[in-house]
C-alpha cells in the first residue's frame, strides 16, 4: 500500500502540512473558515531540531498496537491496510495514545481521537499534507 514517507533532509519545518491536514479534515470549503481563530488538531506533526526537521503521521503499521489495544473496537485496518477510526465507536479513553510508539494519534478536541487516514475518507482523496508540501519532504508512495 501507499503510505506517507518522510525525506528528513528536505523538511523546512514550515508546518504547512499541519494546516493542510486540519483543513482537509474540517469539512469546510475555505481554509480561512476552517482554520481562522480555531484551535486545530492536525494528524501530522512537525518536529523541529537543530539540524533537521520532520513531519510525523500514522505509519499504518503492519501489526498496529493501537488496534490491538483499542477498548471500543473503533480502530480497525481496512482491506488495503489503512488504519482507520470509527468516531461513532470511539469513547475517548486515549489508550491508543498510550500505546502508539510514534505518537501519531491525537485528541480531536471533542472527546475522541483522530489519526491520519491518508485523506481517503475526506474529499481530498489523497494526503493533503503531501499535496501541499512545498519541498517534497513528505511523499505518498509504495515502498
Amino acid at each position: 500500500m501507499r503510505r506517507v514517507y518522510v525525506n528528513e533532509e528536505w523538511c523546512l519545518g514550515c508546518h504547512l502540512c499541519e494546516y493542510n491536514c486540519a483543513f482537509a479534515n474540517s469539512g469546510e470549503s475555505s481554509m480561512v473558515k476552517a482554520l481562522k481563530d480555531k484551535k486545530i488538531y492536525p494528524r501530522i506533526q512537525v518536529e523541529e531540531g537543530d539540524k533537521i526537521n520532520f513531519a510525523v503521521s500514522c505509519r499504518h503499521c503492519t501489526d498496529p498496537l493501537c488496534i490491538k489495544s483499542c477498548i471500543s473496537g473503533a480502530l480497525t485496518k481496512d482491506e488495503n491496510g489503512v488504519v482507520t477510526i470509527d468516531h461513532n465507536k470511539c469513547v475517548g479513553c486515549l489508550t491508543c495514545i498510550l500505546v502508539c510508539p510514534y505518537g501519531t494519534v491525537v485528541r480531536d478536541g471533542e472527546g475522541a481521537v483522530n489519526k491520519c487516514e491518508l485523506c481517503l475518507k475526506n474529499s481530498c482523496g489523497s494526503p493533503a499534507c503531501v499535496k501541499g508540501c512545498p519541498n517534497r519532504a513528505i511523499v505518498y508512495e509504495e515502498r
Binding site: 518522510v6 525525506n7 510525523v56 477498548i71 469513547v91 495514545i97 510508539p101 515502498r143
Partner: protein
C-alpha cells in the same frame, strides 16, 4: 489436518484467539463457550453505556458476522465446569461434553465480594463487571437514588461516572486512603479526588462498609451511610478453577509462559484469568487489561494452530479518564527509581528511571504522545541510546536520532 479448537470465554482474549488461529488455520472448526448470552462486546465500555456515550449496538467488539465469518460455533449461556486433560474434553454445565485438540481458557475474572454481614438484607445490590450488571443497575436507579459504591478503584469510579447524571447522589468508599490506589501515588490520587469531588462524587477514604442492614451501611469508622442502591466493586479474582482442578499450575492467575501455554499440554490461557511475566520488572503477575487480553489471545491462537509466536513484552498500563481528567500509567515504579517530575495546577508528569532504563510513568492530564514513553518501557530501550534529557521534557522521535527516525519514517514498520 483438521483440528478442533475450543475456547472457554467470549471476551477480548477469545476474539484475539480466534483471529490468531485464523492467521494459520482457515478451516478447522472453533467452538466458543460463552457464559454471557451476548455477542462479544467491549467490556470496559459498560460505564460509557450508562453515560450514553455508546449503545449496545456500537459496543459490539466485532461485527455481527464475526463468528460465522470465522467458522465459529458459539454456545451461548453455557459454562465450562471441568476439563479432562487426558481425554481432552471440556464438560459444560448442561452436561454436554466437547472434545478438543487445542483448548484456550479465556475465562476472565469475576467480582470478589467479601462476606459482609447483612449483605443479604440489601435489596438493590449490584456488581459492575458485565453488560448485564450495567443493565440491571440502569433499571434500578432513579433520579433521586442515593448510591453507595464500595471500592474506589477503576471499576467503582467508572461506575460512579457512568451513573452520575442518572442519580441523586453518589458516595464512594474505599479502605485504601486514596482513589485508584492500584495505579496512582498519593499525589496523583489527590488531584483525581479533587476532580471527582468537584463533580459531585462524595468520597469516604480509609473507610469501608463492615455491615449492612437493608438501606444502611455501617462503616468501619463508626459512621453510617444511607443508600438506595449498592454497588460492590471491591475487587476481582481471576477465574482459575478449570485449570487448577485439572492440576495445571496456578497462582493468582493461571500460569502461562510467553507462548501462552499453561503447564498442561494442549491447553493455553489468555486474558484476565492469566498470570504471566510483567516485562517491566520481570515479576509474574496478573495484568488484567484489554490490550493484554487481545495480544495474549492472538498469541495463543497462532500457537494452537501450529504457528510459532511469543508475546513477551506485556506491561501493566492504563489510560483512564474521569469527568475530563485523564490518568495514564505504565510499567512499575521501584522504590529506588529516579524520578523526573513536572507539576502544575492540573497536571502531573512523573517518569521513573532505574539502571539506565525507563521503568514506568504516571501522568495526569498530559496524554500527548505518551506512547513514545510506553515504547521505551516495552522495548527496554537503553536511555543512553537516546537523548533522554530532551525526551523527558517532550515526547517525540527526534531524541531517538536519525537512524531511528530514518527507518521508522522512511520504511514500512
Amino acid at each position: 489436518m483438521m483440528k478442533h479448537y475450543v475456547i472457554i470465554g467470549n471476551g477480548t482474549a477469545a476474539v484475539g484467539c480466534i483471529e490468531g488461529i485464523r492467521t494459520v488455520d482457515k478451516e478447522s472448526p472453533i467452538t466458543v463457550v460463552s457464559g454471557e448470552n451476548r455477542h462479544v462486546y467491549c467490556r470496559p465500555l459498560i460505564s460509557y453505556y450508562l453515560e450514553e456515550m455508546t449503545d449496545i449496538e456500537k459496543m459490539k467488539y466485532r461485527k455481527d458476522s464475526f463468528y460465522s465469518d470465522n467458522n465459529c460455533e458459539v454456545l451461548y449461556g453455557k459454562h465450562a465446569v471441568a476439563v479432562d486433560k487426558d481425554k481432552k474434553t471440556v464438560q459444560l454445565d448442561d452436561g454436554e461434553v466437547l472434545n478438543y485438540d487445542e483448548l484456550c481458557v479465556a475465562a476472565g475474572s469475576r467480582s470478589f465480594v467479601p462476606p459482609f454481614e447483612g449483605l443479604d438484607t440489601v435489596e438493590k445490590k449490584f456488581n459492575f463487571m458485565t453488560l448485564d450488571d450495567a443493565l440491571a443497575l440502569e433499571s434500578a436507579v432513579e433520579p433521586d437514588s442515593k448510591v453507595l459504591i464500595v471500592g474506589a478503584g477503576l471499576i467503582g469510579l467508572k461506575c460512579a461516572e457512568g451513573i452520575q447524571d442518572r442519580v441523586g447522589s453518589i458516595t464512594v468508599c474505599d479502605l485504601a486512603d486514596r482513589v485508584l490506589s492500584s495505579i496512582l501515588d498519593s499525589e496523583c490520587s489527590e488531584l483525581m479526588s479533587r476532580n471527582l469531588e468537584e463533580h459531585g462524587i462524595s468520597l469516604m477514604l480509609g473507610d469501608t462498609a463492615v455491615r449492612f442492614d437493608k438501606n444502611t451501611a455501617y462503616m468501619k469508622s463508626g459512621s453510617e451511610v444511607d443508600f438506595d442502591v449498592l454497588v460492590l466493586a471491591v475487587g476481582v479474582r481471576a477465574n482459575i478453577s478449570l485449570v487448577k482442578d485439572a492440576c495445571g499450575e496456578v497462582n493468582r492467575g493461571i500460569i502461562i509462559n510467553n507462548r501462552m501455554q499453561t503447564t498442561i499440554d494442549n491447553i493455553y490461557a489468555a486474558g484476565d484469568c492469566t498470570e504471566g511475566k510483567d516485562s517491566s520488572d520481570g515479576q509474574n503477575r496478573v495484568i488484567a487489561i484489554l490490550p493484554n487480553a487481545y495480544m495474549q489471545g492472538k498469541c495463543a491462537g497462532v500457537n494452537m494452530a501450529g504457528g510459532d509466536e511469543t508475546f513477551d513484552n506485556a506491561i501493566p498500563m492504563n489510560s483512564i479518564g474521569f469527568f475530563g481528567m485523564n490518568a495514564m500509567t505504565a510499567g512499575q515504579r521501584p522504590d529506588d527509581a529516579e524520578v523526573y517530575e513536572e507539576k502544575s495546577d492540573n497536571r502531573i508528569k512523573k517518569l521513573y528511571t532505574k539502571d539506565g532504563y525507563l521503568t514506568g510513568f504516571m501522568m495526569i492530564n498530559c496524554a500527548e504522545r505518551t506512547g513514545i514513553y510506553t515504547s521505551l518501557i516495552r522495548n527496554k530501550t537503553p536511555l543512553d541510546s537516546v537523548d533522554f534529557d530532551l525526551l523527558k521534557k517532550n515526547p517525540g522521535l527526534m531524541p531517538f536520532g536519525e537512524n531511528y527516525t530514518g527507518k521508522k519514517l522512511g520504511s514500512v514498520v
